[in-house]
């Protein structure tokens, strides 16, 4: 038998580690916000529904008998396509008119997606099978499942691939150029519209990946959207909307914090620390902990 205090330390460590792994998924969704924010200064308020819809779509592919490893690209394609729909239907017009109508329109997209999911796939949470084992392995007394490790690997793989794409390919450099200065990039012959479309497509793909990664752990249901999006928002805003490194750090911290809160205070309060952090971060550092301040010009 271990003494009580050692026991407590183990529980805390266990909670923190599994929370942190969940936090990586929040970070991945938040990274999806950053992609579109970089090119267009807009984000999809219906991103949670996009995660949920992609997860349901992937589940349907599996139900139709598609093998898991074929389903993944199918799900990602679906996510990318939905991202493009969001860009066309909800974002492009208000960007052209230079107003903030996209906030309302992407909220509306989310509402429609939610209603569709509720009616097509039902209101109940459903299990999402995965070929990766969920049997616990023990490291220094902390149990981790291969499934959880696969989440971490998946998150870093996607983020790494996109970062590599942005740095190494011509298209990716166009992306960075539009992010740095939309007008100047346009004068150099880079189409801002196409780049923004690309960023929404990528963002949708990232959302789909997040859905596929997290669903085997949490199950799939229409309500997963609102639960995920608030945390992803918190991560994105606290970290800053332009720091890819920041979202990973803040995602891990927030995930751990959430898991500890839910253990010590009650599972109903699990969202509170993220929300409080978000409001505090906005009050103290509106550009995020890792963000850069901008200069006002007249």
């Amino acid at each position: 038998m271990l003494p009580e205090s050692r026991m407590n330390t183990f529980i805390i460590a266990q909670m923190a580690v599994s929370g942190a792994l969940m936090g990586l998924v929040y970070a991945l969704i938040a990274y999806g916000f950053q992609l579109t924010f970089a090119t267009s200064k807009s984000i999809n308020f219906g991103q949670g529904e996009l995660v949920m819809l992609s997860a349901f779509f992937s589940l349907t592919l599996l139900d139709l008998g598609m093998p898991y490893w074929l389903m993944v690209p199918g799900g990602l394609l679906f996510g990318a396509a939905m991202g493009l729909v969001v860009e066309r239907a909800c974002v492009r017009l208000s960007l052209e008119q230079k107003n903030e109508g996209w906030i309302l329109l992407t909220i509306i997209f989310g509402l429609l997606g939610f209603s569709a999911a509720e009616n097509i796939w039902g209101r109940d949470d459903r299990p999402f099978p995965s070929p990766i084992s969920a049997d616990a392995m023990h490291f220094f007394g902390i149990s981790i499942t291969p499934l959880e490790i696969s989440v971490a690997i998946g998150v870093f793989a996607v983020m790494g691939a996109i970062e590599l794409f942005k740095r190494k390919t011509l298209l990716g450099k166009a992306f960075e150029a539009v992010a740095a200065d939309r007008d100047a990039a346009q004068l150099m012959g880079v189409s801002a519209t196409h780049t923004i479309m690309l960023s929404y497509g990528l963002s949708g793909m990232v959302a789909a990946m997040a859905g596929i990664l997290i669903s085997p752990i949490t199950t799939v249901g229409p309500t997963m959207a609102s639960a995920l999006i608030l945390k992803a928002f918190s991560v994105a805003v606290v970290a800053g909307l332009d720091s890819g490194f920041g979202v990973v750090v803040i995602g891990i911290v927030l995930g751990a914090l959430e898991s500890l809160t839910s253990f010590y205070i009650g599972s109903g309060w699990r969202e509170a620390p993220g929300l409080i952090l978000l409001i505090l971060a906005l009050a103290v550092r509106p550009n995020g902990v890792f963000g850069k301040a901008s200069i006002r010009k007249v």
């Binding site: 017009l93 309302l104 509306i108 109903g268 509106p286």
Partner: protein, 651 residues
């Protein structure tokens, strides 16, 4: 004037009378319930419209304020035995206080970040209502019974009339507020927050006040909601309700009391309409028809983009087709809301009432109310005695942006009553210097003194309040406001009545005086005839002059004109020179940044020349024109040769 009063007030009175008499003629408790809900949602949406419409921010917290207000009222009845009015006051107070607390951090943000902050607040308050079970009963809900009003029990029609009276009071208070300086400030800060601050009006404080006011109305509506249903559950006040409230405001029409009311009736009636199959088919078909007609008209007249014409038709088409495919339309309630909301936001951005209002104004030809005669200029802008003593002193002023030394150790003294020219080639640091003086940027180091006292730094608002007014090189007018309102907004010392009196409509006299004063200033710059023209519809030259009139409304010690002649046609430059001369004659000290050397020579008593962030020459216009360093800065000199000391600058 009379016609205007009759039509506008008449419509309100008729609507109120109709609503008030319905319970006398129709004896149907279901209908009465809907009407009560209509009045409650009316108050709620008017409050929401303050932020969504007037402040132009997407506010996702109003449903939370409804809930918080409802619980505040409910708990003050169940725990403390409050009467009706005290409990309602309590719920308003909760809305006001929490709204203020949220607004302080949240309104430093713009657009999406603000929406996120309010979204988190809503989620947080739902969590608290759910989890603080000792207080709220958690998910079990809170039962209460409607308290007495002045010791008398209130029956259902009585409660309905109470709600209606409160709606009418809120309506009148908001109308008074929106037609006062507050309403102008709300309009202005959406157009140009920077100029709102620079005119000493204060963007932030007006935003916070507006948000807190809207939240307190949310709280009040919550109190009424609690007494209407007599049972509360945290799940009633979540994100879903918020989206429906937004639907109401946007569909009804933003920035309109009638729009909010129309939106409220829509929200109340929609669930009933959707549950009836035939009604749904009729409504969706009507929606499609409107979308097709509006889209086709817009396309023909080329007033809308193709997307704006097509997308609503597609959305409405989905609604019609979906109506035939789906078995139970009620299950798709959210989807139906989404499609309708989408069509309105894209195709009819002003909402249904915005559209109707434009049409009705044209139909009845309602003129704006007549203006008072202009005040005497001496009253508005008294002639000052200038003594030539130092008014503004820059001491070793520096402002760096990273490694760029935009302003690098500038010393300058502006004497009272003078026109002080500040010239230099492009990128020399003139504008940055002026932006530091006027508070847009904080200096990296150094001091700015006004009349020997340190001028506040880093705040446009505080500097403006200290007596410095400015114009902007890139115009920062309030485009949606009329020329008159632009000047009235900035009019210093004109608005002394506190907000409660404004809400009661007891500030009309000072409004009239402000109009007269603003007209005098418009006359000074030759725009009196265009007082009612929207600023963005004025010619470019007139816009420049309007900015000067607006800055003068601050009755400044020091007026900074940032390239007032930039882009002006030659005849307008002459008008400008005359305007500046007449301002100078009134004893106002002026800093003039200008590229036109002839303008500078004609107007300036003293000129300071900067280049590379440093002062390279100072003196009378003639002296600096002959200064070799100045000629070198402007024209450049080949290496090794000296510029001829006598060659004057070309003008």
């Amino acid at each position: 004037m009379l016609k205007r009063l009759l039509l506008l007030r008449g419509a309100e009175l008729i609507a109120l009378a109709l609503l008030a008499t319905i319970p006398l003629t129709v004896n149907n408790s279901y209908a009465l319930g809907l009407l009560t809900l209509l009045a409650i949602y009316g108050i709620l949406l008017i409050g929401l419209d303050v932020t969504v419409g007037y402040l132009g921010q997407v506010n996702l917290a109003q449903a939370a304020f409804l809930g918080l207000g409802a619980y505040a009222a409910g708990l003050s009845v169940t725990m403390f035995g409050f009467g009706m009015l005290e409990a309602l006051a309590m719920s308003m107070l909760i809305g006001l206080v929490l709204g203020g607390l949220l607004a302080f951090p949240a309104l430093r943000l713009e657009g999406p970040q603000f929406a996120l902050a309010t979204l988190s607040f809503s989620a947080l308050s739902t969590t608290v209502l759910n989890e603080w079970e000792q207080l709220t009963g958690g998910a079990q809900g809170l039962s209460l019974s409607r308290p007495a009003l002045f010791g008398h029990p209130v029956n259902a029609p009585g409660f309905y009339w109470l709600c209606l009276i409160l709606l009418a009071l809120v309506w009148m208070a908001l109308r008074n507020m929106l037609s006062s300086q507050w309403g102008r400030a709300f309009e202005a800060l959406r157009d140009s927050p920077i100029a709102t601050d620079a005119m000493g009006v204060g963007t932030y404080r007006h935003k916070v006040a507006g948000f807190a006011l809207g939240s307190s109305l949310g709280g009040l509506a919550g109190g009424l909601y609690a007494f209407n249903f007599e049972y509360l559950q945290p799940q009633s006040f979540t994100y879903d309700l918020m989206v429906i409230l937004l639907l109401g405001v946007v569909l009804g029409g933003r920035k309109s009391l009638w729009g909010a009311f129309f939106g409220a009736s829509l929200i109340v009636l929609l669930p009933n309409l959707l549950s009836n199959r035939l009604m749904f088919v009729v409504i969706s078909a009507l929606g499609l028809l409107v979308a097709v007609i509006a889209g086709a008209r817009g396309w023909m007249k080329k007033t809308t983009q193709p997307f704006q014409a097509i997308a609503p038709v597609i959305a409405m088409g989905m609604l019609v087709v979906g109506g035939f495919l789906v078995e139970n339309t009620e299950n798709w309630r959210k989807g139906i809301f989404a499609l309708m909301l989408f069509s309105v936001v894209v195709g009819l951005p002003d909402g249904i009432m915005g559209f109707a209002a434009r049409y009705l104004t044209r139909l009845f030809r309602i003129d704006p109310p007549a203006l008072p005669p202009a005040a005497a200029l001496d009253e508005v802008l008294p002639v000052r005695r200038s003594d030539g003593r130092p008014l503004l002193e820059l001491k070793n002023l520096k402002r760096y942006f990273g490694g760029v030394k935009a302003v690098d150790d500038i010393c300058m003294t502006v004497r009272s009553g003078q026109v002080h020219g500040l010239i230099g080639p492009n990128g020399s640091g003139k504008s940055t210097a002026v932006n530091v003086i006027s508070g847009l940027y904080a200096p990296t180091s150094g001091a700015v003194l006004l009349q020997g006292k340190a001028l506040p730094t880093g705040s446009l608002f505080k500097v403006a309040r200290a007596g410095v007014a400015r114009t902007f090189q890139n115009l920062q007018l309030f485009g949606e406001l009329s020329a008159l309102d632009n000047v009235m907004l900035a009019l210093q010392g004109a608005y002394r009545k506190p907000l409660p009196l404004v809400l009661l409509g007891l500030a009309r006299a000072e409004e009239q005086r402000a109009q007269a004063g603003a007209l005098a200033l418009l006359e000074l710059v030759g725009l009196k005839g265009q007082a009612r023209v929207r600023a963005k519809d004025l010619t470019y030259g007139s816009q420049r002059f309007l900015e000067i009139a607006r800055a003068l409304a601050r009755k400044p010690e020091l007026l900074i004109l940032d390239e007032p002649a930039a882009g002006l046609a030659h005849p307008d430059v002459n008008v400008l020179v005359d305007i500046i001369k007449s301002i100078h004659r009134r004893g106002i000290t002026i800093i003039l940044i200008e590229h036109h050397m002839d303008v500078v020579s004609e107007l300036c008593d003293t000129v300071t020349v900067v280049d590379g962030g440093q002062v390279i020459a100072a003196g009378t216009p003639d002296e600096v024109k002959r200064d070799p360093k100045v000629i070198k800065a402007y024209l450049g000199v080949a290496n090794g040769t000296e510029a001829p000391a006598t060659a004057p600058l070309p003008v």
